[in-house]
């Protein structure tokens, strides 16, 4: 069964390379809630503090909250990139993460070469590589630019390519940051249809967003994070209202 379950999930960022001792002192002197020293005298930031939640198959979850609330960190933990320092995390199902569109891209390679490279990152067999290449070329609509190094792409073209590559797979659990809202209008129309497809195909969607219209439109549940803790968790509308009321 596809599900995500977290119990007491805790992620801490050690702040290495803190040059001056004075900086360390100043950080700690502010009696901050999230910056502290751990047992081996390192300065750590508590990015996520004792999160408990369970996301069942079929749920569409919006992670909302201020900048630095821990939304992206939680996505990265769910993607298996950041290993928790405390608690338990269980993920059942294949995970596809759309966190950074440019991850693993080589700027000196052409669009086509980058698609091949991404196929290798995903460990696809040669047949699937061909399918992926064709899919991406069709969808991104870059035409002859597919064979031009991507460093000469405009920002919009890069997004189109990245979006096409990232969304060409159908994972069971889809993790998303809100970067995909960029792009020109004509492309966004196409992108919306594809996203809708992807989202409806996935068993679980977790999306980090600042945009309440996205949360309202795509999601069935919202988790409001603040300072690395869950403030509210429940149906989208009440959670958003409570957050907005709080300011």
């Amino acid at each position: 069964m596809v599900q995500i379950e977290a119990q007491g999930l805790r992620v801490e960022f050690p702040l290495y390379h803190l040059g001056a001792r004075s900086l360390k002192k100043r950080l700690l002197a502010r009696a901050a809630a999230r910056v502290r020293t751990d047992e081996s005298n390192r300065v750590v930031v508590s990015a996520l503090r004792d999160l408990d939640f369970r996301i069942a198959s079929g749920e569409r979850v919006a992670l909302i909250g201020r900048n630095g609330a821990g939304k992206t960190t939680l996505l990265r933990s769910l993607a298996g990139i950041y290993e928790p320092v405390g608690g338990r995390l269980l993920i059942e199902g294949s995970v596809g993460s759309l966190i950074d569109p440019a991850a693993g891209m080589d700027h000196d390679s052409t669009g086509r070469e980058n698609v091949r490279l991404r196929a290798l990152y995903r460990n696809l067999d040669p047949d699937a590589q061909d399918v992926l290449e064709k899919e991406v070329a069709d969808f991104a609509g870059l035409g002859e630019f597919m064979d031009v190094p991507i460093k000469s792409y405009s920002a919009g073209m890069s997004i189109r390519l990245a979006f096409a590559i990232a969304t060409a797979m159908q994972p069971q659990i889809l993790l998303m940051d809100e970067w995909f809202m960029a792009g020109d209008a004509a492309f966004m129309e196409k992108a919306e249809a594809r996203l809708a497809n992807l989202v409806s195909g996935a068993d679980i969607l977790v999306i980090a967003t600042h945009d309440m219209t996205i949360a309202r439109r795509w999601c069935t549940r919202a988790i409001h994070l603040d300072a690395g803790q869950i403030v509210a968790d429940g149906p989208v509308e009440p959670v958003i209202e409570a957050m907005l009321a709080q300011g």
């Binding site: 990265r76 290993e83 995390l89 993920i91 059942e92 950074d100 490279l117």
Partner: protein, 281 residues
């Protein structure tokens, strides 16, 4: 939509109270070696990007080695009182192999830090980054290798059947390169001072290892040479190719011992700190 292997169900369970570090490290190694194609593609990209726009590309390495051979060969053969026929085959093999060792060790320090973008965004086995570094240096080295047969032919130095023993020596070298990439890659990500220290050590090691000079010149003191790990590894390749003997039992035992030590250390470090690496880079 594409249904790749990613859509196969997989389970990821993590419990901080029982992290199963060994198991996860072995899974990383296994998956990493299984994706050697990715590491190979990345290594070739690195090489292509490094020499983009250059006319002779990686052959600059060959040219610089050749220049060093001619310059140092003429000078040191004279200084050491050896004939060119005696000295140049020794110098060629030593210098080519040393360039491989030095390149791999220096590159090992940036194995993980240069892959920062990938490490923080995608879940790719860390082993892939280490393999990439080994492949990249192997590819670079391959451009200098032809110098060895050219010099051998020019001076009529034909190695005997023992030359086959250079193959296990090469395997040992690659194994060490991989271990070093893992170990130094991780340590240098955590402690940014290690990189410059390693560069200094390698410079010193160049003079302390019999590359420009021959081990025999040390006379009685030569018995201490196997204490130098670089000498042991170098000799497993040079012995079969140049001196026409297998390099001696001591050298092989020392080389295998050092490799096991480095490998063990790298493995232990990887098992313990694999989970922290994403926070270090």
């Amino acid at each position: 939509m594409l249904a790749g292997p990613l859509s196969l169900p997989e389970t990821f369970a993590f419990d901080a109270a029982a992290p199963r570090r060994g198991e996860m490290a072995r899974a990383d190694l296994r998956d990493g070696f299984a994706s050697w194609r990715l590491a190979w593609a990345l290594a070739r990209l690195d090489l292509r990007n490094r020499y983009r726009g250059s006319v002779i590309g990686p052959f600059w390495m060959t040219l610089s080695t050749l220049l060093m051979l001619v310059g140092l060969g003429l000078l040191y053969a004279r200084l050491l009182g050896l004939s060119l026929g005696e000295y140049l085959p020794h110098l060629t093999v030593s210098l080519v192999v040393w360039n491989v060792i030095a390149g791999m060790v220096t590159d090992a320090c940036t194995t993980m830090t240069t892959a920062e973008g990938v490490i923080r965004q995608l879940r790719v086995p860390f082993t892939v980054h280490a393999l990439r570094s080994v492949f990249r240096n192997g590819l670079t080295a391959a451009h200098s290798l032809p110098l060895i047969p050219i010099v051998f032919l020019a001076f009529g130095h034909l190695p005997g059947p023992e030359a086959v023993l250079a193959l296990p020596g090469l395997a040992l070298l690659l194994l060490n390169a991989f271990s070093a990439s893992m170990l130094l890659g991780m340590i240098c990500a955590r402690f940014r001072d290690i990189g410059p220290i390693v560069a200094n050590v390698m410079q010193l090691a160049f003079f302390l290892t019999p590359i420009l000079w021959k081990p025999e010149l040390l006379k009685d003191a030569a018995v201490w040479l196997p204490l130098n790990p670089f000498y042991a590894v170098l000799e497993t390749l040079r012995g079969p190719l140049v001196e026409g003997h297998a390099g001696g039992l001591t050298v092989w035992v020392a080389a295998i011992l050092y490799s096991a030590l480095l490998g063990g250390l790298a493995y232990a470090f990887f098992v313990r700190f694999r989970g922290r690496l994403a926070f270090w880079v």
